[in-house]
């Protein structure tokens, strides 16, 4: 049952794979971005896990406590979360602009439109 | 030679580049442009002559312009072999300029500023090669020469010209970048220097195996020397207007190639070390083969310029053979042949251009009776042909004699046979045009009577023909100069 002791790492791995799969396999841009977010979140959990010390207390200096959890990963991940939110914001903004320009946010439909346009462009020049 | 000032070698190299700039800037005004075209060769010629004094006195002070890499810079110095090349190029530039102006006007070509600017740059690059004190400098100007002549080859911009230009630039750049540049860097790595010094720099630095590979890289990397199978660019370059074929593809560019071959043999490998290398024989026989094969091809070419181009391929190999024989005689012979063949071949090309200009005939089989209409041109052609074949009273006889002596000296009897055979072939492809022109009647319906090309074209070609005769008597001086550097 030792592997259960590392269940947080298992969650990290599972989330990461779900996210990564979504990024690669989904054609819908919003879904892609959500999957990307899941992927990032798994890394956040990885960092937070690293900071936890079993039996450690919150990192506030006080009497009678000798073991503290490491606060640094939390600080780092706060920054990373901000970065993640910004990424999602930019991604969604782009998705909206793409929807305005193409009328769709599905990869395959946009690719079909692009192929049409490419054909039209190259024909008269030949 | 106290008449000419002894300038710095770099200043001399710079003159044509300044000329090119002036010509390019005067593009809007044909008068001014022509004036610059006329003027640029003169200070260059005087500058080159000014170098003779210091060389005869044995002052080879290298002049470093700028250090590009630690211990390696753009450095110039004047050495006898380079001086010979520079004299050849500068003299012929003076003569080729009126011809080029006359020809380009007569045929009504456009874009003349670009044409003459590139022409001048090519001469400057040739001077840079001639006065280079190390391989890096030499390589830099070698590439400038390749690139600056591309616009000249593709000048007309027709499909055929662009096709020819592409072959030209591709072969020259591919050989130099793929073979010569790695060879230079390898040499730098092994010898720690790239200076061109009598006795060579590689002798003590690399083993025979590496030396053998380097020799192959250098010789085939010098695409301009037109060793088979990298000779195709030269016939391809014949799409260029004739003044280009004459000055560049009979003199500046190809002679730069054989100059590099000679320089590498003498100053990078050193003749003694060269003689020991395993691949020397291979290169020697490739050159011998090229000499004969190109002559055979020339024999079957009806187009006069194409015939002359293959003849050039063949004659260049004489010089490479001279270098590869690795004897003092043959190396001096090679140097002399550079000079003699330069004068002879430019005469032939000038004549081919003049014939085309006056009669629009470009095939040997159409030349029947042309001698009656263009006696001066065809006489000059005859003298030029004698020089290329190597018959008295032209300078060509001396260079060929030295080359054959060198071959006898080293006991390469096969090469001696090849020289003799090739001479016979030379007669076979160079004299028929003359005989047709003088001995056969004009075809029906063509007007007889003198109809020479414009004076601007005829005078230079007569002068170069006279030059080959003068060289018959001046050969001793050329020998003296060259033997200073080849000991």
């Amino acid at each position: 049952m030792e592997w259960l002791g590392h269940f947080n790492y298992w969650i990290v791995v599972v989330l990461m794979m779900i996210g990564f799969y979504g990024v690669i396999a989904r054609g819908n841009m919003v879904k892609k971005i959500l999957a990307l977010n899941v992927f990032q979140t798994s890394v956040f959990i990885l960092f937070i896990s690293a900071g936890k010390i079993i039996g450690g207390s919150t990192p506030i200096l006080r009497e009678g406590v000798s073991a503290y959890s490491n606060p640094l990963p939390h600080v780092l991940i706060l920054t990373a979360i901000v970065v993640g939110v910004a990424t999602v914001a930019v991604g969604l903004a782009l998705a909206i602009r793409i929807r305005e320009a193409y009328g769709s946010i599905e990869d395959d439909r946009i690719a079909a439109q692009e192929a049409d346009e490419e054909n039209r462009q190259s024909e008269p020049s030949r | 030679m106290s008449l000419a000032p002894a300038l710095n070698p770099f200043t001399v190299v710079l003159i044509p580049f300044i000329g090119a700039l002036a010509i390019a800037l005067a593009a809007r005004s044909p008068r001014l442009r022509d004036a610059f075209c006329w003027l640029a060769p003169i200070p260059f010629f005087i500058g080159v002559l000014g170098q003779i004094g210091p060389v005869l006195e044995g002052r080879f002070a290298p002049q470093t312009l700028v250090e590009i890499l630690p211990g390696l810079g753009i450095t110039f110095s004047v050495q006898p072999l380079g001086l010979t090349f520079a004299i050849l190029a500068s003299t012929l530039w003076v003569l080729a300029t009126p011809y080029a102006i006359g020809y380009m006007r007569g045929e009504g070509y456009g874009n003349l500023a670009r044409f003459f600017a590139c022409y001048a740059i090519a001469l400057g690059a040739a001077a840079g090669i001639a006065f280079a004190d190390n391989l890096l400098t030499l390589y830099i100007f070698y590439e400038i020469l390749s690139v600056s002549t591309y616009p000249l080859v593709a000048h007309t911009g027709t499909d055929k010209a662009r096709q020819g230009g592409r072959t030209y630039i591709a072969l020259l750049l591919v050989t130099s970048v793929c073979f010569m540049l790695p060879a230079i860097i390898w040499t730098w790595h092994a010898a720690g220097t790239l200076d061109l010094r009598p006795g060579g720099i590689l002798g003590d630095a690399v083993g025979p195996g590496t030396g053998a590979v380097l020799l192959l890289l250098f010789m085939f990397g010098t695409g301009k020397a037109a060793l088979m199978p990298f000779h195709r660019w030269l016939p391809a370059a014949m799409v260029a207007p004739t003044p280009v074929s004459a000055l560049l593809h009979a003199v500046a560019v190809v002679k730069a190639g054989v100059f590099v071959a000679l320089t590498v043999a003498l100053y990078v490998f050193g003749l003694d070390y060269l003689a020991e290398l395993a691949t020397r024989d291979f290169v020697l026989y490739v050159a011998t083969f090229t000499m004969l094969a190109a002559s055979l091809v020339a024999l079957h070419r009806d187009n006069l310029k194409s015939r002359l181009a293959y003849s050039t391929v063949s004659q260049l190999s004489y010089i490479v053979v001279g270098a590869m024989l690795a004897s003092q005689w043959s190396a001096i012979g090679g140097g002399m042949h550079m000079l003699m063949h330069g004068f002879g071949k430019i005469t032939l090309f000038f004549c081919a251009g003049a014939i085309f200009l006056a009669t629009h005939k470009s095939n040997v089989s159409d030349l029947d009776g042309v001698g009656r209409r263009m006696p001066f041109t065809m006489l000059a052609f005859f003298i030029g042909a004698l020089c290329v074949i190597g018959l008295p009273p032209t300078g060509g006889v001396w260079s060929k004699m030295h080359l054959i002596m060198g071959a006898l000296d080293t006991g390469e009897s096969l090469v001696v046979v090849a020289f003799v055979l090739s001479t016979l072939l030379n007669i076979g492809y160079l004299l028929p045009p003359v005989m047709r022109a003088f001995l056969r009647p004009l075809p029906e319906g063509e007007p007889s009577g003198m109809q020479e090309a414009p004076m601007l074209c005829v005078v230079p070609l007569c002068l170069t023909a006279i030059g080959t005769l003068v060289l018959f008597f001046l050969a001793g001086h050329a020998y003296g100069l060259l033997s200073l550097g080849i000991n």
Binding site: F20, V23, M29, K32, I33, L36, F39, Q40, V43, L46, F47, A50, P73, L76, T79, A80, V83, A86, T87, V90, G91, L94, A95, R97, I98, A101, Y102, I110, E114, S122, S125 | V66, I68, L69, I74, L136, Y139, I140, E143, I144, V147, P151, A154, G157, A161, R162, G165, R166, I169, A170, L173, V174, V177, C178, L181, P182, I185, W186, W188, H189
Partner: protein, 495 residues
Amino acid sequence: MTVVELSPFSMLVPLIASAVCALLPGRLWPWLLTFAAAAASAVIAAITLAAAMDGPLSYAFGNWEPPIGIEYRIDAANAFVALLVSAVAAVILPWAKTSVDQEVPERQGPFYALFLLAFAGLMGITLTGDAFNVFVFLEISSLATYALIAHGQDRRALLAAFRYLIMGTVGATFLLIGIGFLYMMTGTLNMVDLAQRLPELRDTATVEVALAFIVVGMGLKLALLPLHLWLPNAYTYAPSFISVFLAATATKVALYVLLRFTFTVFAPDYSFVALPLAVVLMALAIAGMVVGSWVAIYQANIKRMLAYSSVAQVGYMVLGVSLVSVTGLTAALLHMFNHALMKAALFMALGTIAYQVGSVRIEAFRGLGKRMPWTLTAFALAGVSLIGLPPTAGFISKWYLISAAVESGHAWLVALIVITSMMALIYIWRVLEAAWFRQPAEDAPAVTEAPLRLLIPVWVLVAANFYFGIDTRLNVGAATAAAEALMGGIPGGAP
């Protein structure tokens, strides 16, 4: 104020300026502020480099002593890259004004603010000595870059930006995972500290995995084949100004981060000897060189052609790195600098053509040689540098790269380098031939030479290509010093 105190300002000036810039109205003021910030940043970076040549500088942010606080540790290597980035920004901005006015006519304040943010991010990545800080600045610059690319006029710019966002975020997250593993093993984020603590832990799987994640993450940002897919579209559809900036700087900074991690944080004998990184990088570099050059030959869109050429050129740099020698590293760093010069010049000449002609497809080039002689000559000369003919900066890179290959005893690498150079010759030549030796199409619009305000900056860069091919003291000197600093292990520290 000492040089040490001054040094972080080459990142801070653009960062602060970007906040102000976003609020500025009109067209003149945002540009003026951006230019002033970039110029100031370049001057500071130059002063920093001069000082860093003598030994590393260390600046502790907020006076928190390292390894607790964030440290800026500047040695010859990152000072060199910082100068490269800021100098390129300062040189291209005078050109950018005209081009941006045409391509991004409205809301230029935010546009330039984004640019400053991307620029500050790149400077931050370069200067910092803290591993997590690298990630933060990487994301700052990347997010700004996605938005900048999306400013392109063609709607495909949006797709390119989106794709780059997805791939770039995955890459950055990989880097974050790698840094996380390192932190878990060592308890520190300071690079010097990491370098000191890692040797004891080098046999653990976690450290190996960390290195792998970092290399893959940076390989993505670096556009190392096969992770290059975002690059061609991003460069092709971004506004001309942004293409110039990205081509000249972004991949270089990613390469720097890769070098910093593999050479400084992990020692070279670990990254390249204990793990087969040298072989992997060499294989990918060669694939990039060959595939990039090959695909470039067949592109009808010249901007895309140059983008693929960048993939190939990144291959040259990584090849130099994979040889793991001072010469190889010098070649890589030198090519980083020289490639920035030549690609900036090429993309600027191309941007100038886009400005005048409105198209960058090969058909639009027909007959341009006569109509825009100065622009096309600039393009040709920069192309000569790209091919690597003397006397240009590109020749010096090739010289060092071939020297490094000869030194390593891999003669076949020499052959590969020269063959791919010939492929560069082919794709550049196509353009020049169309420009000079083909007649324009009959319905082609009348085109005149570009205005001087576009031409002069282009020619400044072209001249730089020749200047640094002849007087090589600055680029070769700094690259050698930087390579020695990296090979020495600890940033700037001699053993």
